[in-house]
Symmetry: C2
Subunit: 424 residues, 2 copies
């Protein structure tokens, strides 16, 4: 449906209507949080069984190793096998770590800055640059900013980053040491890297011999529909292309079991694993092996993880459908917003008219709906066009979510129409 | 009992006897590991109840916060209260972290190198130095070496480091940014810092305005006898002396519950906590709150921790007594070794004749008893006199421990007598 606004009078009338609708919604004193990708209570209940699944008899390895004691600095074999299957790599290519993949990413980058990477000639010093597909994940960008790594925006498309731009810059500039990738159900757009993009990332020439792909496979089983897209294995692709040390793969079970009480993993070539295990040996005697075993007992194997994720999808799939429905119903055909319903992950990415994102966040906040700050999905928190917003639909109950979306859409209309009227 | 060796002939005879005794022990094909401070199986069994203590109903805070979800980046209030009591500080002076105090120490030092400390003028750059009481903990020294922090040996005494030396160097040299301290049952000597030493650490002038005491309170409740020595509170002492930001206090429950599955803590002034929490906010979304709650449920309060530690003492106290008995019986009065039975902690420190430590480790290894490498208790792994060894008596069952000590003492006799005979 296309809805044409063809005169100044009808534009003004539309604005008035939208303002009225918003005023009515404000009167309802909502308090709804859509800032972060937090699971809702029903999802958390799915994993209650993991809390008590591990008994004293379960704490031993096949060879009788007592996992209640020190040892196994890179994780227990059972967890490496489980996480290896999850990531599509062999157990010896896996470090089974603590509770946070963000820590693994942060510490890997800190390690590169302080000591360099496997096969690298020197630490990543002054002037290091990273490519950042935009919009992207704010916590990735925050680590780079913190380490004075200059971030370069690259356009994100439905099938991954703009590879023409990536290839040209990486081939040209030896200071570009890495790129952030969320390959499946990318945060926040839901993009899925095509095989062609994976192959180009794997085969491209890099001016930096120690170039790395930071492959944050955060949502590989986090489906929202019946689609089961497969992303080509980056480690296999890079190895086949003669760049086995290029990818660092990350994942965690934080959005599979209970956030903060999951287990994180880092996968890569044997050389990378040896280098990172060496770095970790100064930092820790080892991860929480009992929590790793808890996962192994709870899931059994990767099929257990997959069927567990079906239950998550059944809970949050309808929430994403509700967001999509609200956007279509309220903003469809009005040329004020573009979005694409994601097939998985935790976010909706919505592009508004230029200059409208920050205003919508402020207005929604005044109406009781807290959104992720405008710009958060960009390096340095700066959206050059001030138009992208990230919606996180998982936490609120679906009825609240519908109310939040009514507020959001009303705010988009008001801000957009104010802009159109002021420039009319 | 003093046993005089007054002629070359009797020295040679003694060596022959010792060699025979060792040969007989070698024939028994021992395989005993005394390298690290690992609890024994009986100790691990003490904490089996923690595995299943946390039920889904227990995962909520007093205000209804759901600890199964994201949030509480510096730990949950219940864990801060418990760990605060354990450390003798207020909850707001506590970060309740992940599973490893070593990580907290490592990351705090990395953070100081990359970004500086609270109130500091600049990052801790090239030329930073640390004071290291010797003998000490190898993992502390490894972090410094890794970060190119120059380590300066300071003599460790029964009541703490040689404070005359510490004060003189710290007042003089602005590149000295810190000192490692294990204040109670010091690793490995079992030294207990006196009130006077704590006061001098707190009040001394430092050339570096951002000087820090890294206070690794690893063994505060890890008693081995009925003695309950108290160490003066370093945070209170420093605060009273006008240096509130001087101490970083660390501890963990790794040797209280199950190693690797405990919780670690960092305590300090509000300024330090704010600075470190900010640094952590880039590294992690938060610690494993459910494991924190598991501790809270298992112990109830700090008295629960204390009575739990009595059970550990009942198991390992006799092991330390057995080590002391073996040393006294075999080496007493022979002027080959000095040691002091510790009142707590995990180690025995034994000083041999100069130049004998590495040889004893090699000989014991050949006889099936693996000891911590000679030099491990010194910066850069270099014991200037090659005489100190660390014994870790907790892991082997007591019968094996007695066998290991027979081997150890025979090795000390053989190596010492070889030395005396070769120089006779």
């Amino acid at each position: 449906m296309s809805h044409e606004i063809d005169s100044d009078a009808s534009l003004k009338e539309a604005e008035d209507k939208a303002e009225h609708r918003l005023a009515a919604l404000r009167g309802r004193n909502f308090q709804i949080d859509m800032t972060r990708g937090k699971p809702g209570r029903e999802q958390l209940d799915l994993s209650n069984g993991i809390l008590t699944v591990l008994t004293p008899e379960d704490c031993f390895g096949a060879d009788g190793d007592d996992y209640r004691n020190y040892g196994f600095g890179t994780g227990i074999p059972e967890a490496k096998a489980l996480l290896g299957s999850y990531m599509g790599v062999r157990p010896e290519q896996v470090i089974a770590g603590g509770n946070s993949s963000l820590s693994l990413m942060h510490d890997t980058l800190v390690g590169a800055v302080l000591w360099g990477v496997a096969g690298g000639a020197a630490p990543w010093g002054e002037g290091t640059k990273f490519l950042c597909p935009i919009p992207g994940y704010d916590r990735h960008f925050a680590i780079c900013e913190r380490l004075n790594i200059e971030m370069i925006n690259v356009e994100m498309r439905d099938d991954g980053p703009d590879m023409d731009a990536v290839e040209a810059m990486v081939a040209e500039d030896p200071a570009i040491k890495g790129i952030w990738c969320v390959p499946k159900y990318s945060n926040p757009t839901g993009a899925i890297y095509s095989d062609a993009v994976v192959d180009r990332l794997a085969t491209m020439e890099s001016a930096a011999a120690d170039f790395r792909v930071f492959w944050d496979d955060a949502y590989t089983m986090h489906h929202l529909t019946d689609a089961r897209p497969k992303v080509k294995n980056i480690l296999e692709a890079c190895t086949a292309a003669g760049h086995p040390d290029r990818p660092y793969m990350f994942a965690s079970t934080s959005k599979i079991v209970h956030p903060g009480a999951g287990i994180a993993t880092l996968a890569g070539s044997e050389a990378n694993i040896a280098d990172l295990a060496h770095k970790m040996s100064f930092q820790t005697i080892g991860p929480d092996k009992l929590n790793q075993m808890r996962h192994v007992r709870f899931f059994g194997n990767v099929d257990g993880m997959a069927s567990h994720m079906e239950k998550h999808a059944a809970i949050i799939g309808p929430k994403f459908a509700a967001v999509d429905a609200a956007l279509s119903q309220n903003l469809g055909g009005k040329d004020m917003a573009t979005w694409k319903r994601p097939l998985g992950g935790y976010f909706f990415s919505v592009d508004l008219l230029d200059g409208c994102a920050a205003k919508v966040v402020r207005l929604a906040g005044e109406a009781g709906v807290t959104l992720t700050p405008a710009g958060a999905t960009f390096p340095y928190g700066r959206d050059p066009r001030d138009r992208n917003l990230r919606l996180a639909p998982t936490l609120p109950p679906i009825e609240e979510l519908r109310q939040a979306m009514a507020v959001f859409c009303a705010c988009v209309e008001v801000v957009s129409l104010r802009k159109l009227n002021s420039s009319a």
